[in-house]
Each structure stands twice: as C-alpha cells, then as structure tokens.
C-alpha cells in the first residue's frame, strides 16, 4: 500500500489524539490536585459539546470561537460544584466520593437527554467538509484547527500552573496538602479553582470535539473511560503525560484500524493500557509513588 495512506492515517490519529489529550488533561489536573476521581468528566465534556452545538445552531458561532465562553461557564460551574459540594466530601471514604460523582454524572446525562433528546446533533461550520492538501498529506481542516487549539489551551494551562502565583499555590497543595494549610493557603478555594480549571479544560475539548463528531448525550461514559485510559497511559497527574497518552491512543487506534481490522481498533487502546501497566505502572511520564 502506498506510503501516503499510512502517513495520512498517522497524522489523523495525532490530530484526534491531541483533542483526547486535552480532555484527559482536565481529569489529570483534578485528580492530581484534589484527589477526586471525576466520574462526571465525560458528562462535562458532552456538556461542552452541547454548548458548542447550541451556540452554533442558534447564533452560527464557530465552536472554536465559542470555546472560551464554554470554558468560562464550565469553570464557574466546576468552581461552584467543588466549593459548594465536593469540598465536603474530600475527607470522606472513596466510595462515597465515587457514588456522589456517579450520581452527578447520571443527573447530567439524563438532564441532557431530557433537554435535547437522544438524537445526534452536529455543529456545522462552513469548512466541515474541507481538507488541506499538503504534499502527499490530505489533512482534515476541522481536525487541524481543533488540534491546534487543543495545543494552545494545553500550553496556556501549563504556563498558568508553572508561572502564576495561584498555579504555584495549587501545585503546593498537590505536593503537600497539610503543608499548604500550615503556610496559610486557602486549600478549599484552590481546590475549587482547580476543579473549575479542569472543567473548563474538558469543556474546551468538548467544544472542539463537536467539530469532529456528532453529539449525543449517551457519549458521556465513553469519554469518561477514554480519559481514564489516557491518563493512566500518560501518567497520573502529569499534564504532558495526558497529551502524550492522547496522541498514543489516537495513533495506535488509527494505525491498528488501518493495518488490521478497523473493528478491532479499540482493543489496541486497552492493549496499550495493559502494556504500560505491566512495564511502567506509573505511566509514561508519571512519577513513582
């Protein structure tokens, strides 16, 4: 088979993987700092998708332009959720946290079903059927734009955590919660900001993903599971790991589907997961302990 077919498939996998990575980054940030397994992660992503579709259908707003607005809404929602509810469960047993978040997830997905119904919806943009021809590559315009935006958002998030005072304080909380309290940091407030940032991150990913796929409320659990796989492969708590994990999952599925059977491609995500857990249990960019 000619080389250009392989190259096209690999590049397409990388582009999709970057959006997956951004979604998983939100989960990684929340999990790494607040130590909550956000079972409502996929649901938040689908909320972002529906927000983008709604704005696209009502105001013809491109999902990439509506992404900041969706990020803001989800940041406020995430902040409020953590501040008003989840902070009270931080010291509770794990199973209580899980049940709470599963409950929130079910409320969100069924709320979406009640509000929008089960039909698939699409955010139609003028360029949704276009592609760039670059040499032997045929690049889907939508994926190129979405992946570029995902990289930009990931970069901004990284800079925030690395260089801002609040970001530094959040990292201090993640490193040593007790120590952070001792030095006078507002830990519950920082947790709320972190959850808000994670929610905003996944909201942007959802908004971008709405360009690539048709949106249905029932997608939510699939994206929760996918984000978990990516985070485990990339390394728990590692932002770069989330992006790397996303790209690896995207490329492995694409290549496996192309070379072998497309219906078997999901198997390779799980295969990669098992392989990483066997050879490097902390994930590719995760730290031991």
């Amino acid at each position: 088979m000619p080389l250009d077919f392989y190259l096209n498939v690999i590049v397409s996998g990388i582009l999709t993987g970057l959006i997956y990575g951004l979604a998983a980054m939100g989960l990684s940030v929340i999990f790494g700092v607040v130590r909550l397994v956000n079972f409502a992660h996929g649901e938040m992503m689908v909320l972002g998708m529906f927000g983008a579709v709604l704005l696209s259908q009502s105001f013809h707003l491109d999902p990439m332009l509506s992404a900041p607005l969706i990020a803001l809404v989800l940041f406020v929602a995430g902040y409020g959720l953590q501040r008003g509810l989840l902070n009270r469960f931080i010291d509770r047993p794990d199973h209580q946290q899980f049940i709470l978040l599963v409950g929130i997830a079910m409320m969100l997905v069924n709320g979406l079903l009640m509000g929008f119904g089960p039909d698939a919806r699409a955010a139609n943009v003028d360029y949704s059927f276009d592609s760039f021809a670059v040499g032997m590559l045929n690049l889907d315009k939508v994926r190129v734009y979405a992946a570029g935006t995902a990289l930009l958002v990931a970069g901004l998030l990284f800079c925030f955590f690395r260089y801002s005072r609040i970001g530094t304080a959040i990292r201090a909380c993640a490193d040593n919660q007790l120590g952070a309290k001792v030095v006078g940091l507002d830990v519950p407030g920082l947790y709320a900001i972190t959850f808000g940032l994670g929610a905003a991150c996944v909201g942007v990913a959802g908004s971008l993903m709405s360009l690539v796929i048709d949106v249905r409320p029932q997608l939510a659990p699939e994206y929760t599971l996918l984000s978990f796989i990516i985070v485990i492969v990339g390394g728990l708590g590692s932002m770069g790991g989330a992006l790397l994990g996303g790209v690896l999952i995207g490329v492995s599925e694409a290549v496996a589907g192309f070379v072998l059977l497309p219906s078997m491609k999901s198997m390779f995500s799980y295969g990669l997961l098992v392989l990483v857990l066997l050879l490097r249990p902390q994930g590719l960019l995760g730290k031991k302990g």
Binding site: M1, P2, F5, S12, T16, S28, V29, F31, G32, F39, G42, D94, F98, V102, A105, M106, V109, L113, P118, D119, A120, N124, S128, F129, D130, S131, N138, D140, F158, F161, R171, A174, D175, N176, D214, Q218, P221, T224, L225, F228, I229, I232, L236, G237, S238, M239, G240, G241, E253, A254, G257, F258, L261, P262, S263, K265, S266, Q282, G286, K287
Partner: protein
Amino acid sequence: MSFNFTAPTRRQFLGTTAATAALGAFGAAPAFAQGAALKVGVLLPRSGILAQAGQACFRGAEIAAKILPAMGYNLEILSGDTESNVDQARARTEKLINDGAQVIIGAFDSGQTGAAAQVCEQRGIPLVANIAAAPQLTEQGYKTFFRNFPTSVDLVRNAFPLMKETFATSGKTPKTAILLHANDTFGMANKDAIEKLLPQANMPFTMLEPISYDPKAQDLSVEVAKAKATGAELVIVTTRAADAIMLVKEMVKQRWEPMGIVSPGSPGLYDAQFYKALGKYADFAITNLPWFNPTAELTKKVQAEFAKLYPNDAFDGYGFNIGCTLDAILVACDAFKRAGSAAPDALLAALRSTNLANHMMVGPAITFDAKGQNVNFSSAVVQNLKGRPTVVLPTSAAEAKPVWPMPGWSDAARG
C-alpha cells in the same frame, strides 16, 4: 516539558474505572390510551445509537393510534425503549407484557428483535417485527414470531439485479466493489448474505475484502482511508443513520469519489437525519429496498396525519420507518379484529391466516408462511435526488431517472 502532581493510588483509580462501563440511563415506558382495545406494546430503540430510527418508527405508532380507529381498529399503544441495547430489549419486552401488552411490535434492530422474540415465545405473546432482517429470526422455530420485513438474504437477492439495472442505465459498470458494514447482528447478516449470493448473482464487479466497524464508532476516518486505499469503484454499505453520515463525510474530506454508494436495504442513506447533516453531499446515494407505496390510500392518510403532527418535517425521510411500523401494527390489529379476542391462541391463529391487501408498503397482500415470514416483498431503487429519496427504478414506479455514476463531491450537479 511536563510536571507532576502528587498521584493518588492507582488501585483507587483503576478499581473505579471498570465501573464506568456499567453506567447507563434508565428509560421509561409511557403509555397513551385509546380506550379498551388491543394493547400493542411498541418496542423500539428510542434512545441510544439507534434512536433516530427508533424515534422515526415510533412516529408510525403515533400515527397508527390516530388513524386506525377511524378504520375500525381499536388499539392502545404501550411504549418500551430498548435504549439500543439487547439486554434492555429483553427487559422492556417483559415489562410491556407485564403491563398488559397483548402483542409486541418491534424492534427495528435484529439483535434486539431476537431478544424480544425469546421473551415473547416464553410468554406466548405474538411479536410482529416491523424491521429486522437477520434470517435466523424466522429459523428458530418460534410459534409466536411474525416478520413483515424481508430477510437480509431477500434484501440482497432483490438488490443485485437492481444494481445491474442501475449500471445499465449509463453503461458504466464498476469493476471492483467494497462492503463497509457495522459488525452488529444486522451488519453481519447482510455481509453473510452478500457473500452467499454473490457467486450466483453474476455481478460485473469483483468484491474486495469487506471492512467492518463497531456500530458505536464515533469516527470512521480509518475505515474510509482503508477502503479508499483499495481503489474500489463501488461502495456497498450496511449502515444506520449515524454511521452513514460519518462515512460520507469522511469520503468527502478524503476526496474519495467512487462511481457510487449503494446500500442493499440497510437504513441510513434515506433517513431525514442524513439529509440534514450532509446537505448536498447526501444526494445521489442509492438504497435498494422495499418502499412505501405513494399511491396507496393508506399512505395518503398517513401523510396527512404526519403533516398535522410534525409540520416542520418532510415525510419522505421518515416514510420507510413509519410505513414498516404502521403496517406491522395494522397486521396485529387486523388479526385482533378477525379473532374477536386478544387471547394469545386466538390472536396467533388469526395472525397465521393474515391476508391483508390494504397496507402502506409496496407489494401484494401481506401473508405469512409457516415460519412467520412475509415473503411477498419487492424492492425499488431509491436514489437521493434534490434532497429527497426518489424512486428511480423499476421504471414502472419511477419518479425520476437514475443518475449513474454519481457526480463528484464538488460537481455543479450537487448545487
């Protein structure tokens, strides 16, 4: 460059990851009453991946509840949502029967219909399938199962000559073809039927290795890339609405322009959602399948009721699903009327002796053979033209001439 937060235990994370697979939504089974009458349990995938088709079929039930009483049939519709899931189909069938359903209609999908058929057989309640093509459904020896829809084998058997007829209209014949199909019960049954019938059909093309995909797939770019790489001149598909949209979208993006896209009887290409999502790119796709009879008196009543109930929607994109569902309900009501009772034995006996000439889909009177199969179906070539499914063959029923090969994605013919 990366930095790490303190990572909590992996056991905590992994242990809970598995639970996400079990997440699901709980549906409801609303009912709307039409007075004391035959209680018809309409089992359809009204949510989940097949929701678009399930909802379209349910419109047939809603219209039936409006127009059949005026034709002397008393019925009450109970609704069960399979959530596009085989296990839920089984559970919802049980619930419908427990709620008093005296006959079950459904369930659009072969896998879900098979699950419902097992329950109906155990409970002795008749099931009239509206749409479900897997041949094995009528090969199980069930006494309570009736299918008013062709099997996959019949769909493909009818489709092959129509394909040749389509090619003959322009004299341009594809030399190679590839099948893209979902790997669910229906998709696999269709693939098996194609492989079984192809050697005898004397088709002018060579069939390449088929490409299967997960019916829940969100992205078919790899599948289309793989199919494009084969250089096939004809794309044969077995789809539903969502995957049909994804396939064509990817074909446009990847600039793959085969001579045509043909479905031997699967849904997707003629669904309203397909036109809404793809616009001009929806045109010229072809489906070979049984179709509603636009000249039938019943069809006119249905169209009038559809216009009242759904004024914003075009009937053509829903007509097939509505016609199949309405006819299945009509079969049950007709049996009830003749039996004069909803007792299972009486209803089953009446269903076996069905001979219903006045119905909505094209074809002679509905009758069932010893296996419960209506064998009197014929297919038409339905091509999407100017945003609506149009009968183009056979010539006797054609509303327009077929366009073959299909124009390229950027051709002016697409508007």
